[in-house]
């Protein structure tokens, strides 16, 4: 099915009228189309109102049976979910690879994070990265941590499926002759992930692998980066266990 057709399935999907064999493709599309994902959420909420219109008293014995069973039924353990961000608060550039290309500032060194970019053109890289970032953010199992940083910056780390997205707004430029460097950190160890020099005050990074790390950190390093952190991190995020 071509992409325009997939957009048109939001209503059918919200009504549970998409055949099972087609659901996978549509759900995959949702992870690349924030507008579709939002529309599906709204239309599912609308469809739930249709359920309310045909409410009917449940058989009396159902109540007793369910309540008795609940008393002896275990619940799923909580997933330690932290503050989550609403989809509509994400910047709109996420759905536009062109703006993504202009905003993309992270250079990922070959081999250090298990990702190699040299085979792709800048445009392909930008598009692929935009999709990867959206996939993490739109993942129903994603976890989000937001922190206020010294100097007024806001940093957000979103993790899903072993990948992570770091977004920092209102970030001061690195001091002259210096750059920001990202690290995957574990006790006593720091693995360099890449360098970033945000010119517009916004830093966006996609971390393809988290490699058993306990934290993601950002330090200020001399231009060109360092093998190991030489300064105290300006921000640190704990990764979910």
């Amino acid at each position: 099915m071509s992409r325009p057709d997939l957009h048109m399935l939001t209503g059918a999907y919200a009504l549970n009228a998409v055949p099972h064999e087609e659901e996978g493709e549509f759900v995959a599309h949702l992870s690349t189309c924030a507008a579709c994902a939002l529309e599906v959420a709204e239309l599912e909420a609308t469809a739930a109102r249709l359920a309310g219109a045909v409410a009917e008293a449940a058989p009396a014995e159902l109540r007793g049976r369910v309540l008795t069973t609940v008393a002896t039924t275990r619940q799923e353990r909580p997933r330690g979910r932290l503050a989550a961000l609403a989809p509509e608060s994400w910047p709109t550039w996420l759905s536009s690879p062109a703006t993504m290309a202009a905003a993309l500032l992270l250079v990922v060194s070959i081999g250090l994070a298990g990702v190699s970019w040299t085979q792709h053109s800048q445009a392909q890289r930008s598009e692929a990265l935009a999709r990867s970032i959206t996939a993490v953010i739109a993942d129903p199992g994603q976890r989000t941590v937001t922190k206020q940083l010294a100097g007024g910056a806001t940093g957000t780390l979103v993790t899903a499926g072993g990948h992570a997205v770091l977004l920092v707004n209102d970030m001061a430029p690195a001091p002259s002759g210096h750059t920001y460097q990202l690290w995957l950190m574990a006790p006593g160890k720091a693995q360099p992930v890449g360098l970033a020099s945000p010119k517009t005050g916004t830093l966006q990074a996609y971390l393809d692998t988290l490699d058993g790390a306990a934290q993601v950190g950002v330090t200020v390093e001399p231009s060109g980066g360092s093998r190991q952190p030489t300064t105290t991190p300006v921000m640190v995020f704990d990764l979910p266990a």
Partner: protein, 204 residues
């Protein structure tokens, strides 16, 4: 919680009526307590939602015994997986009723997998026509609102939406039963739901 309340404020209705601003769904607070193992909260939640859960399942499945079985599964699943509910992704009511409808549909489809396709199409003719939804609803504010907003759809949109939602048909089956192109059905379902969304003032 302020954010959650703002989500449920309804805009002025398109018919010039002022929709009453609703506070956050009381089920949201109950479900959050259920997620922490609160059985009293679950009991209150059950009383508030079991009628809607059973009603939608029975409207789709029709058979009372099967409907009761699926309703029990859903209501237990709500208890078991309450920790998965996230208020930023919608209301507790929507979460629960989406689950109920999906389970009913799954049951219909698994039964249909072995049923004769011709028989299924013949069954459609014997089925209660979609207008009957309007006849059976009780006169309560919520149901009146839905009925009013359903009448704001075109007849073709209403027909397709009802066949898909209450009839449990896939969009392909709806297209075949109505003898219209797939694209037409997709558009009717989408436009119909969007119109319903705007009339009801639904925010995700």
């Amino acid at each position: 919680m302020v954010v959650a309340a703002a989500r449920h404020l309804k805009p002025v209705g398109t018919a010039g009526q002022v929709d009453v601003a609703r506070s956050a769904d009381p089920l949201d607070a109950l479900l959050l307590r259920v997620a922490r193992g609160d059985t009293d909260a679950y009991e209150r939640l059950f009383d508030l939602v079991s009628g809607q859960v059973f009603g939608v399942i029975r409207r789709v499945l029709r058979d009372p015994a099967q409907s009761e079985e699926v309703a029990q599964e859903v209501l237990l699943e709500v208890w078991r997986s309450a920790t998965r509910f996230d208020t930023t992704r919608g209301s507790a009511t929507a979460w629960i009723l989406t689950m109920a409808h999906r389970r009913a549909i799954d049951r219909v489809r698994s039964a249909q997998a072995s049923a004769d396709r011709e028989e299924r199409i013949a069954q459609q003719e014997r089925d209660v026509p979609y207008d009957d939804v309007a006849e059976r609803v009780e006169t309560r504010l919520e149901q009146q609102q839905v009925r009013r907003c359903m009448s704001s759809l075109t007849e073709l949109q209403r027909e397709s939406v009802s066949m898909a939602y209450y009839g449990g048909y896939t969009y392909r089956e709806v297209a075949e039963l109505l003898a219209v192109p797939l694209g037409t059905v997709k558009t009717r379902l989408r436009d119909g739901l969007i119109r319903l969304r705007d009339c009801l003032g639904v925010l995700a």
